[in-house]
C-alpha cells in the first residue's frame, strides 16, 4: 500500500523528533499527562466519597463528551483548511431539527437517526462544494465571514421552518436511572459517554487504517504531495466537511433530549466546543476529546459546588478557561508549538 507508506513519511516529517512508531508515542508532554492524571484521580476520589459528586461528574463527562464531538468536528476542519467553522453549532442544530422532523413524521428513533446522519453528511459535503470551495485560499477574514453567513442562514432558516418554540426529541436510550452502590446514574448519560467514545474510536481507526482516511490526512498535511500521489485533495476536504457535519449531528442527537431543541440552545454550545478545542490544542483530535471531557466535568462541578457561578456564569467561566489557555499555552494541552514561516 504505497499510499500508507507515503502518509507515514509525511507524518514523520511533521514530527521530526518522533520515534518510528509514530502513532504509539505519547500525544502530550509529561507535565500535561501528569496534570490530567491528577484531575482523573481527583474525580475518582471525589466520586468514591460522595454520591452527588459522582452523579455530577458522570453527567458532566457526558455533556463534555458532546462538547468533545463538536470540538472534534472543528478540529477536523481546522486541520484541513486552517479555518474555524463558526457555523458548526448551527449545523448540529439543523441536523437535530431534521431528526425531529423525521420522528415527527412517524419514523422510529434509530432509522430516523441514521437517515439524519446521512442527510447531514450530504449537507456538509454540499456546503463545502457550494460556498467554502470558492473562497478557498482567500484571506482569513473572507472565510470567517462566509462561515458567519452560513451561521445566519442556518439559524434563520431553522427558526423559519420549524418556528422558535422548544421541540422535544426523545432519546434513543432508556432514561431511567441505574444504581451503582447507592449512586443513581442516568443510563442516558452513560450511553452518551459510550457513544462519543465509540465514535472517536471508529474515527481513529478510519484515519489510521483505511485508504480514504489516510488520503484525507495526506490532503490536510501536504496538499501538494498528496495531489502528486493521486489523492483528490478537493474531494477530501469536502469529505472532511461531511464528516464534521455527521459528528455535529451525533452531538446534536445526544444533547437535544436533555437540553431541548431550540436554535438558541446551540449558540453557547459552539462556545463550549471552541473552548474544548482550544484547551486540547486546535490541531489535535485527541486533545479535542480530552478537552471536551475535562471542560464538561469541570464546569458541572464548579456550577454545582460554587454557588456564585451557578448556571449564569458557566459560559463566562468556560470562556475564561479559553482565554487563559490562549494566553498561557496557545498550543493547548496536546498541541505542539508551531514555528511560523515569514
Amino acid at each position: 500500500m504505497a499510499l500508507a507508506q507515503i502518509i507515514r513519511r509525511l507524518d514523520l516529517e511533521r514530527n521530526e523528533k518522533a520515534a518510528t512508531t509514530a502513532h504509539l508515542r505519547l500525544p502530550a508532554s509529561w507535565p500535561v499527562v501528569f496534570l490530567l492524571l491528577a484531575f482523573c484521580v481527583f474525580l475518582g476520589i471525589g466520586s468514591l466519597r460522595s454520591g452527588q459528586f459522582a452523579q455530577q461528574t458522570v453527567s458532566g463527562l457526558a455533556t463534555g463528551s458532546t462538547f468533545g464531538l463538536l470540538a472534534l468536528a472543528l478540529v477536523l476542519i481546522y486541520r484541513a483548511t486552517e479555518v474555524v467553522n463558526l457555523a458548526q453549532g448551527q449545523m448540529a442544530m439543523f441536523s437535530a431539527y431534521i431528526a425531529w422532523q423525521l420522528i415527527h413524521w412517524g419514523l422510529p428513533w434509530w432509522p430516523a437517526a441514521i437517515l439524519t446522519l446521512l442527510i447531514s453528511f450530504v449537507g456538509g459535503v454540499g456546503i463545502e462544494r457550494l460556498i467554502i470551495r470558492p473562497v478557498e485560499g482567500h484571506s482569513l477574514v473572507t472565510v470567517v465571514i462566509v462561515t458567519i453567513g452560513l451561521f445566519l442562514v442556518l439559524d434563520g432558516a431553522a427558526t423559519w421552518i420549524w418556528s422558535g418554540i422548544v421541540r422535544y426529541v426523545p432519546s434513543g436510550f432508556s432514561t431511567r436511572p441505574v444504581r451503582f452502590g447507592g449512586v443513581a446514574l442516568s443510563i442516558q448519560d452513560l450511553c452518551t459517554l459510550g457513544v462519543s467514545i465509540g465514535v472517536v474510536l471508529v474515527l481513529w481507526l478510519f484515519f489510521q487504517y483505511t485508504k480514504v482516511g489516510l488520503a484525507m490526512r495526506a490532503a490536510a498535511l501536504r496538499p501538494a504531495a498528496a495531489r502528486l500521489v493521486g489523492v483528490r485533495v478537493g474531494w477530501m476536504l469536502a469529505l472532511g466537511w461531511g464528516l464534521a457535519a455527521v459528528l455535529g449531528a451525533i452531538a446534536g442527537l445526544m444533547i437535544v433530549p436533555v437540553a431541548g431543541l431550540q436554535p438558541s440552545t446551540f449558540q453557547p454550545l459552539l462556545m463550549y466546543a471552541f473552548a474544548a478545542a482550544v484547551l486540547g490544542g486546535l490541531e489535535s483530535p485527541a486533545g479535542a476529546v480530552v478537552g471536551g471531557l475535562a471542560l464538561g466535568a469541570m464546569l458541572n462541578l464548579i456550577g454545582t459546588y460554587w454557588s456564585f457561578v451557578g448556571s449564569i456564569l458557566r459560559l463566562p467561566v468556560a470562556l475564561a478557561v479559553l482565554l487563559a489557555v490562549l494566553l498561557i499555552r496557545p498550543a493547548g494541552l496536546f498541541g505542539r508549538g508551531t514555528v511560523r514561516k515569514v
Binding site: 486552517e82 479555518v83 474555524v84 463558526l86 460556498i131 470558492p134 473562497v135 482567500h138 484571506s139 482569513l140 477574514v141 473572507t142 470567517v144 465571514i145 462566509v146 458567519i148 453567513g149 452560513l150 451561521f151 445566519l152 442562514v153 442556518l154 439559524d155 434563520g156 432558516a157 427558526t159 423559519w160 449558540q267 453557547p268 462556545m271 471552541f274 482550544v278 486546535l282 449564569i312 456564569l313 459560559l315 463566562p316 470562556l319 479559553l322 482565554l323 490562549l326 494566553l327 496557545p330 515569514v342
Partner: protein, 326 residues
C-alpha cells in the same frame, strides 16, 4: 496604468455632499423615519469602529457588540444612578471603552488570526451573561430604564456623534498612525522591520476602535431608552461585521450603505412578498453576506470604485490584501 486617483478635493466634496443630504433629511421625514435614520447613524459609528480594527489593521473582531454594551451601560448607569446629563456621558463611555479596548488588545498581541476572532467572540458571548449576573449594577434581565424620551433631538444627536467620530477617525487614519495600521495589516513582519512599534499600534487600534464602539453603544441606549442584556446579543456583534463586510473592509466610502442595509433589511425582508416572515432577515443577511464574499469581495465600496472606473488593482480586492495571519 489607467489608474486615476480621486483627488482630495473630490473626496472632500463627496463627504460634504453626503453630510448636506443627511442634514436636510430630517426635515423631509416623519418622526418614525427620523428614529430609524438615527439608528442608521448608530450602525454607521459601529461599522466605522470595526472597520478601523478589521479593515485597516487586519485584526478580526467578533466582539464589538460587547464594547457597545459596555459603552451603553456606562451611559445608563451614570445617567440614572448618578444623575448625569445623558449626553455628557458619551465621552465618558468612549473613555471607558478605550481603556477596555487597550486591555483586550494586550492579549491580542499574542493571538493572531482566528484565535483572536475566537477571543473577541468570547467577549461578545459573555458580556450579556455578566450583565445578568451583576444585577446590582445592571438591573439584571430588565435592565436600566434611562427615562429620556428620545424626541426630535435624537437624529441630530446620533448624526453629530457620527460626524465627530468620522472626523476623528479620519484624522487617525490619514496620518502616521493610519499608515502604521495598514502596514500591520499588510504584513506584521515588514511593519516591525521598518520600525513600527507593533505592541503600541495594535493596542492603540483596539483602543480607538473600542472607544468608537462605545459611542455607538451609548447613542444606541439613548435611542432605545433602556439598557438591557437582550439589546446586545451575540448577533449584534455579528451584524456589525456583516455591515462592515457589506460596506467594504478597509474603505470609508461604503460605510453609509452598510449601515442602511443593517437598519432596513429586517423591515424590508419582513414585508417582502413571498418570503416575507419574521425569520427572513437572518436568512437574507446570511445569503447576502455569502454572496458578497463570493462575488464582490470589496463590498459596496469596491463596487463604487469599479463603477467609477477607479479600479486600479483589478482582481485584488481590499480584503485580499489583509494577509493570512493564522
Amino acid at each position: 496604468m489607467s489608474y486615476r486617483r480621486i483627488t482630495a478635493a473630490g473626496r472632500l466634496s463627496g463627504v460634504l455632499a453626503v453630510a448636506a443630504v443627511l442634514s436636510v433629511l430630517p426635515f423631509l421625514m416623519s418622526d418614525y423615519h427620523q428614529t430609524e435614520w438615527a439608528y442608521v447613524g448608530v450602525y454607521f459609528i459601529a461599522i466605522f469602529s470595526l472597520n478601523i480594527l478589521t479593515g485597516y489593521t487586519g485584526q478580526v473582531s467578533l466582539g464589538h457588540g460587547g464594547f457597545m454594551m459596555i459603552g451603553g451601560y456606562t451611559s445608563a448607569i451614570l445617567a440614572v444612578h448618578h444623575g448625569w446629563n445623558i449626553i455628557t456621558t458619551i465621552p465618558i463611555a468612549a473613555l471607558i471603552c478605550f481603556g477596555t479596548g487597550i486591555v483586550i488588545g494586550i492579549p491580542a498581541l499574542r493571538l493572531r488570526g482566528i484565535l483572536l476572532a475566537l477571543a473577541t467572540f468570547a467577549l461578545a458571548v459573555s458580556m450579556p451573561q455578566i450583565g445578568l449576573k451583576f444585577s446590582h449594577f445592571t438591573g439584571g434581565i430588565s435592565g436600566i430604564l434611562t427615562g429620556y424620551r428620545p424626541g426630535h433631538w435624537l437624529y441630530p444627536l446620533s448624526w453629530s456623534c457620527a460626524a465627530v467620530v468620522f472626523v476623528l477617525g479620519w484624522l487617525v487614519l490619514r496620518g502616521r498612525t493610519g499608515r502604521a495600521f495598514r502596514a500591520i495589516r499588510d504584513s506584521e513582519v515588514a511593519a516591525v522591520s521598518s520600525g513600527i512599534n507593533l505592541a503600541l499600534y495594535k493596542t492603540l487600534a483596539f483602543g480607538v476602535s473600542a472607544a468608537f464602539a462605545g459611542v455607538a453603544g451609548s447613542v444606541f441606549v439613548i435611542a432605545s431608552n433602556y439598557a438591557e442584556p437582550n439589546n446586545f446579543p451575540v448577533t449584534l456583534s455579528i451584524n456589525i461585521l456583516v455591515g462592515a463586510a457589506i460596506a467594504g473592509l478597509g474603505s470609508l466610502s461604503g460605510m453609509l450603505f452598510g449601515a442602511i442595509v443593517l437598519e432596513f433589511i429586517p423591515t424590508w425582508s419582513q414585508s417582502a412578498p413571498l418570503i416575507g416572515s419574521k425569520q427572513a432577515p437572518n436568512v437574507i443577511q446570511g445569503l447576502l453576506l455569502i454572496l458578497i464574499m463570493l462575488v464582490l469581495r470589496g463590498g459596496f465600496a469596491g463596487l463604487l470604485r469599479r463603477l467609477g472606473g477607479f479600479a486600479a488593482r483589478s482582481g485584488a480586492s481590499l480584503t485580499d490584501r489583509i494577509p493570512d495571519t493564522s
